[in-house]
Symmetry: C2
Subunit: 235 residues, 2 copies
DNA sequence: CGGTGGATTGATGAGCATCAAACGATGTGG
DNA sequence: CCACATCGTTTGATGCTCATCAATCCACCG
């Protein structure tokens, strides 16, 4: 099981730079900075290599994280190894924030990744005196809930093609630079995010390519050529 | 579409009493009381008939609710009428709490239902001065997120039988009285919650019945006779 | 330039959806 | 009070979507 999901640890960083810098501070995506900046908390940086675990499911939630560069997947496993990825975390995104003492999903670096982190306890403490911080923590969790609710609709009711179209539009929104997106994750990750197999994901992408809706520059660099038609497929 | 989902409005209350009283105040389930009691907010009561809409998707979130008696479904629709129910709300449960100004799922009474409600604005105001209230609102949203994360795993990766087993154990935990559960919702609701058709739900229940894992007293009154075997099926 | 992990493509089949009909329970009107 | 209408549930027959198994293919890296 672990074997099935664990690919080549100890590999060097890919030479093509995938995953950009952290989002500018104006944006909704840098929710974390709004806290640490405001309260003047000490934020440390730490790096993880590709496929390295950041924390495990049900592990004590000692830290809260923010992606600086790289990408992270949060997931749950069934006992036989089936995996559901609940979210991808990209530069600027906070993750690992819990209102209870344990993490509910595991987290791994998808590629070499640098994070900023603060102790959960210090955030809790700040929230206990500063109501603005408390409000911000709630907003982060509420944002994750919104994503999860949208994703339940996708997993429960959308067809394979609709799921892939939704995924492409989400990634386009979140990480496209100059109309091109550089996906940090492999087809298996995408499948485990969308509740599909990697083969089904690949077939859907090939079909969209054949219809001219997207273009490839290598399997992980995708250009959307017709967002309107993707929106239609999205249902 | 609306037609497909709307069944017999204006029907009388069922004579079998389904859905119990509100949970005692000690419990984790009465999260709402902990707030309204603490802050001394004015909570009104209101009733909805079976299948009546409480609020629609993307409607302004003016109130926050708590089920007193009855049951509520929260759901999203695709444009062609496919529906995903994100959660069932039972007596004691809060619902409709948002950190943004609009509801992201619609809510309907499953059976005749009474709710307690408070204005969202007054909760926000209380949270602005009382950090305990702010903490409680966060905890409610975090609890909903946890449920959604578990449900994503179910929708993305579990088989039909595993989904039904998980559902039965959830409902057993939440509404069983004296070993018996009186389900307020129909097979279609269960299917739309589990990402299945009503026929598949019915077949799974029949199979569990044939194996002696559960007993029926009418389609909606179920007794679990072997929770251990259900847990095994749950994967 | 060869090696390796990831991606694509193909062949086949299983699980669940769909379509259809019968059954059952609940409430109504004669 | 019983026959009937109605809505919900069960059960059956069939087919489609997507999973599985398998074989290249391709990009990236040493």
């Amino acid at each position: 099981m672990t074997q099935m999901l664990t690919q080549t640890l100890n590999t060097k960083t890919m030479n093509t730079r995938i995953g950009g810098q952290i989002a500018p501070a104006h944006s909704l995506t840098d929710q974390f900075g709004a806290i640490t900046g405001h309260v003047g908390l000490l934020a440390t940086e730490f790096s993880y290599r590709k496929d390295e675990e950041i924390y495990g499911e049900d592990e004590p939630a000692e830290y809260v994280y923010q992606v600086v560069t790289g990408a992270v997947r949060s997931y749950k496993l069934l006992s036989d190894g089936r995996r559901q990825i609940g979210a991808f975390h990209l530069p600027g995104d906070a993750f690992g924030l819990e209102s209870v003492p344990a993490h509910r999903l595991a987290a791994e670096a998808i590629i070499d990744t640098t994070v900023r982190l603060v102790k959960r306890a210090s955030l809790e403490k700040a929230a206990g005196t500063d109501v603005q911080v408390a409000r911000k923590l709630w907003a982060i969790t509420a944002g994750e809930l919104r994503h999860a609710e949208d994703h339940m609709l996708l997993l429960g009711r959308k067809t394979a093609m609709e799921r892939v179209a939704t995924f492409l539009l989400e990634m386009d929104r979140r990480l496209a630079v100059a109309g091109m997106m550089a996906l940090p994750m492999c087809r298996r990750d995408i499948g485990d995010y969308l509740g599909l197999t990697l083969e089904t994901v690949s077939r859907a992408l090939s079909q969209l390519h054949a219809q001219g809706i997207l273009g490839f520059s290598g399997a992980r660099h995708i250009v959307l050529r017709n967002r309107q038609r993707l929106h239609n497929l999205d249902s």
